[in-house]
């Protein structure tokens, strides 16, 4: 997994690419820290270039959502497609956070 962080208007946008798997948990920890330490209410994970995600990756996304909630921020997942989008749908992520196409 690769992550790039940008600030767009009032949001911190972290774009993930390649694959999000268990072995990426240390890099994803840095993403979590970046989101929480940004002190922004709007946190966006842009998954447009993410090719696939496994169950551990889905677990990490849920942790990101809870970490943002603890920091009084809202997490938005944006641009998921293909296998990633289907996994989010099967996991009913739309019932716990905001999904944007």
């Amino acid at each position: 997994m690769k992550a790039t962080t940008n600030i767009q208007q009032d949001c911190i946008v972290v774009s993930l690419s390649e694959r999000l798997m268990f072995s990426d948990h240390e890099e994803f920890r840095q993403v979590l820290n970046a989101l929480v330490e940004s002190d922004m209410n709007c946190c966006v994970l842009d998954l447009h270039d993410l090719l696939s995600v496994d169950s551990a990756g889905l677990g990490m996304l849920v942790i990101a959502h809870e970490e943002c909630q603890s920091a009084n921020a809202n997490l938005v997942i944006r641009g998921a497609n293909g296998q990633v989008r289907r996994m989010l749908e099967l996991g009913r992520f739309d019932s716990i956070l905001r999904i944007e196409s």
């Binding site: 948990h25 920890r29 169950s55 551990a56 677990g59 996994m87 099967l90």
Partner: protein, 385 residues
């Protein structure tokens, strides 16, 4: 009338006798001849009408019997069609539900339940993954803390080492001072002893920390093995199972629609057959008309017979005297193309019998008895049955 007939002169019979008569007498003779021929024809008509009444009865009975058979067959067909529709209805009901622990559950309800269960499974997998990753992060934090503790121990050991060197230097300086440094030498020894004890404690702590670190590393490996189990195929299988169950429901709906249409067709067939049975009541109306026709023919026949008898009594003529009678009979009979009908006609007209008409089934199997007139053996028969 009979007394008047008895007083009449005998009539001339031969052509020679007629030619010898005067003109007025010749006219009277011609009228008498016409009357005789009419009487002959009337006798034939009387017997032919009797035979016709018999044939109408035969035809009416034939239609009645056939219609009765048709009605029975149609009733059987209607019963089968209704039974078929009921059986199909039961099949539809059976296909729409499944039996679970003796309880009938609608298939769509079962599919919804299955989807709910699968949704719960996926939600639990997500929770499991999340908790697993939280544990991984917690152990990462503990590992970091242990590293800090190990660095702290290293710091203690470094300070202790300097303290030990300091104590050694103090001891050397105390020896150089001689008598005056004796007390200071004791303090230096105590410091070295304390330093050795601190060093020993630091070593013990390091050993314990090593055990803790090893435990964390082992736990992390175990957790990694658990968390690394990819459950995404299980999550994706939910998608597949949902597609299969939806396909099953759709297929079941199509099956129900097709079978339901078949049940409707069967019910429609039963309805049509009932309509046909109703229409077969034409036979009853036809029979009444034929009975009326027979009644009218009987009236005409009786009137004809009565008039003939009166004419015979008045003129002394006999229908047996008509030379054309045989020709009439043969002409009428030759028009009958059905063998059994011709036989009955011949018996009635030639022999004056009013035999009971045979049943169509019996007569259709062959010609009549051995006493039939010769022309009954004609090869011109046209059998319709």
């Amino acid at each position: 009338m009979s007394s008047q007939a008895a007083e009449l002169e005998p009539l001339p019979e031969t052509a020679a006798e007629i030619e010898d008569l005067p003109v007025a007498a010749q006219d009277a003779s011609a009228e008498r001849d016409l009357l005789r021929r009419w009487l002959g024809l009337s006798a034939v008509q009387e017997r032919a009408l009797t035979a016709l009444c018999g044939e109408i009865t035969v035809a009416s009975d034939l239609v009645e019997g056939s219609v009765s058979d048709l009605t029975d067959n149609f009733n059987n067909l209607a019963g089968l069609a209704r039974s078929n529709a009921e059986q199909i209805g039961r099949v539809v009901e059976s296909a729409r539900t499944i039996e679970v622990d003796g309880e009938r559950i609608d298939l769509s309800e079962a599919v919804c339940f299955l989807e709910e269960v699968l949704g719960d499974v996926v939600a639990k997998i997500l929770q499991l993954s999340k908790h697993g990753m939280s544990m991984v992060y917690a152990l990462d934090d503990v590992t970091s803390d242990v590293r800090v503790a190990e660095q702290t121990i290293a710091g203690i050991e470094k300070i202790n080492k300097q303290t030990n060197i300091l104590a050694m230097n103090a001891k050397i300086e105390a020896i150089r001072a001689g008598e005056a440094g004796a007390g200071f030498s004791v303090v230096a020894d105590e410091m070295r002893e304390l330093s050795g004890m601190v060093n020993k404690l630091a070593l013990e702590i390091r050993e314990h920390m090593s055990v803790v670190t090893k435990g964390i590393v082992d736990s992390q490996k175990e957790l990694r093995n658990v968390a690394a189990i990819d459950l995404s195929t299980t999550i994706e299988s939910k998608d597949r199972v949902e597609l299969m169950t939806k396909g099953l429901v759709r297929q079941n709906e199509e099956f129900n629609a097709t079978v339901g249409a078949s049940a409707e067709s069967s019910a429609e067939v039963a309805k049509w057959i009932s309509g046909l049975i109703t229409k077969l009541q034409f036979q009853d109306r036809t029979k009444q008309r034929l009975e009326n026709i027979i009644g009218i023919i009987e009236i005409l026949k009786n009137a004809d017979s009565k008039l003939c008898e009166e004419a015979k009594a008045a003129t002394g003529l006999s229908d047996a005297d008509d030379l054309n009678r045989q020709a009439w009979l043969e002409h009428i009979i030759s028009e009958c193309h059905l063998g059994e009908m011709r036989e009955r006609f011949a018996r009635t007209i030639l022999l004056g019998e009013e035999s009971e008409p045979e049943s169509p089934q019996e007569t259709a199997s062959g010609e009549g008895g051995g006493e039939s007139p010769a022309f009954l053996d004609s090869t011109e028969d046209i059998e319709l049955f």
